[in-house]
């Protein structure tokens, strides 16, 4: 059994308050020593991460609103799992996940056009282009051309190979274990205390950016997991982000969370004009009242967003329009493609714009945010090269870099389990 930092089993720590009361408590419980770069630099550890983390934990692969209609399918290419998965919404409305592999001779059921591909299954069936086997979106093999020419064929056993799939707060997760040792609800139990209840699915307007970085996935994850870099790296794009403070840590291992506070963004004339459009609209104005109670409980007015690390590779920054104007939340996901190659995906989620003015304002906010991400990603390949040089073997971490320490400790726990 995986245990958390204090030695309790994960199931025993359910419903315990995740809040860390002071920096001293953070230091006492999790330590202050420099953290080894071994798990970033050693390719053998990457193989262990694939086997013991990515094939064993629940991974977010979609949102419910990406496949809203019956017959909608999303294909996600996942090199870290050595497969591509099809996520479908069946005739019964249920979301399921399957290997994108035809059970005849292994061709892809849905040819991929990108790292993710969206299709609508016409008449609720998927047809393999190789020999024409037809599968229902619930995985059933429906028809086989020239079926009577097979000496032996058990069509019931030739269903698409299903993967455990469940939904949390309208985010769709999969788990590659044939019988996952924890349900998704149990895996995210602690996280639900902090993030549960926000109407995520109302914010269907997405602006997504992605890039492939020549670095280990944790270099990218770590760079997005701390607020220490904000005044320096983002001096260009976020000059109004005054007094950035990364605080209010919460631990619900293997996940954790924290809050970013800072002064406002409405510093330039253009940003003020676009922000006014969003702030003046009932749908897009700041909604601190919609934040789950565990987030910013004292109602600090400089609240920007909550910054969690959802083990192993997901961040959902929840701002409810309080930070970036109109921005409900944004996500980062870090998909390893190889030891030194990572697909990063950053997505801004807004409520749908009712007018062209609102859309243009969202485009402005999204562009400002993308520019900040261009500043963030600029460090990653250099950092990885620096670490791979072996010049340093440890990272020195300050209090605001706590999430890095926590992820690193959990990675060690999983790979040594």
């Amino acid at each position: 059994m995986i245990t958390n930092d204090t030695g309790d089993s994960i199931s025993e720590q359910k419903s315990a308050s995740p809040r860390i009361s002071s920096t001293q408590e953070l230091r006492d419980r999790f330590g202050v020593a420099p953290v080894s770069t071994e798990s970033i630099c050693n390719p053998a550890i990457y193989d262990l991460e694939k086997e013991k983390i990515f094939r064993k934990t629940w991974l977010k692969v979609a949102t419910t609103w990406e496949i809203p209609e019956i017959g909608d399918c999303k294909v996600k290419d996942l090199p870290v799992l050595d497969t591509s998965l099809v996520i479908t919404r069946g005739r019964d409305g249920k979301i399921r996940a399957f290997h994108n592999v035809c059970t005849h001779r292994g061709n892809k059921i849905i040819p991929e056009t990108d790292t993710e591909t969206y299709v609508r299954a016409r008449a609720n069936v998927l047809t393999c282009r190789f020999h024409g086997w037809v599968f229902s979106t619930d995985g059933t093999l429906k028809s086989v051309p020239a079926q009577d020419h097979f000496g032996e064929l058990d069509t019931a056993c030739a269903r698409l190979r299903e993967v455990a799939c469940d939904v949390w707060q309208d985010f769709v997760f999969i788990n590659m274990e044939p019988e996952p040792s924890q349900t998704l609800a149990d895996y995210l139990d602690g996280l639900s205390v902090v993030f549960g209840g926000y109407p995520y699915a109302e914010s269907t307007q997405a602006y997504r950016y992605s890039t492939v970085l020549d670095c280990n996935w944790k270099v990218a994850l770590y760079a997005f997991s701390e607020g220490y870099h904000v005044p320096t790296i983002h001096a260009g794009s976020l000059p109004g982000f005054r007094g950035a403070d990364h605080a209010e840590f919460k631990v619900m291992s293997p996940h954790a969370s924290s809050t970013i506070f800072a002064g406002g963004m409405d510093t330039t004339p253009a940003t003020s004009a676009f922000a006014a459009v969003l702030h003046g609209s009932a749908a897009h104005r700041p909604r601190p009242d919609q934040l789950p109670k565990a987030i910013n409980p004292t109602g600090r007015p400089d609240f920007q967003f909550e910054l969690p690390t959802i083990f192993p590779n997901l961040i959902i920054h929840l701002g409810a329009g309080c930070g970036y104007p109109g921005l409900s939340f944004f996500t980062h996901q870090f998909w390893p493609m190889a030891h030194g190659k990572t697909l990063w995906e950053g997505t801004n989620y807004f409520r749908p714009p009712a007018t062209a003015a609102e859309k243009a304002a969202q485009i402005h906010v999204s562009a400002l945010h993308r520019n900040a991400w261009l500043e963030d990603t600029a460090t990653m390949e250099d950092t990885f090269k620096g670490l791979m040089s072996g010049a340093i073997t440890e990272m020195q971490l300050m209090d605001q870099e706590f999430l890095i320490r926590h992820i690193s400790q959990n990675i060690d726990k999983y790979i040594n389990a």
Binding site: A273, V277, H364, L374, E375, A378
Partner: protein, 117 residues
Amino acid sequence: MDKTSSDAITSRFSDLSPLLEKWAFPAENQRSAVRWGASASEFEEFYSKMMPRLGEFLELLSHNPPNKLPPELHGIYQLVCAFAEAAPHHELYKGSAEVPHSFDPRRFRALHGNDPS
């Protein structure tokens, strides 16, 4: 919108035609390509012509969703989208077409990049 007011809009914006020609494109990827090639003086000119009228443009665009705009506002909408993306280069980056000290923006992919905004 009736004919008279649509004519009125067209004549009200006749001075924008050079800006429309340079900056107004429906999809983000097209606008990014223009922005990456723009000079500091082009950002400055775009900003100085757009910023004083931005409130007026946003008001005009606040009555319809993007896909139901009257045809005479299509150009203005694309121009405002381009301005939404270009303004930081004048306001924050001293006229540089690139975000200073940043990753190569051509390596960023926008999933929505080819869709009309």
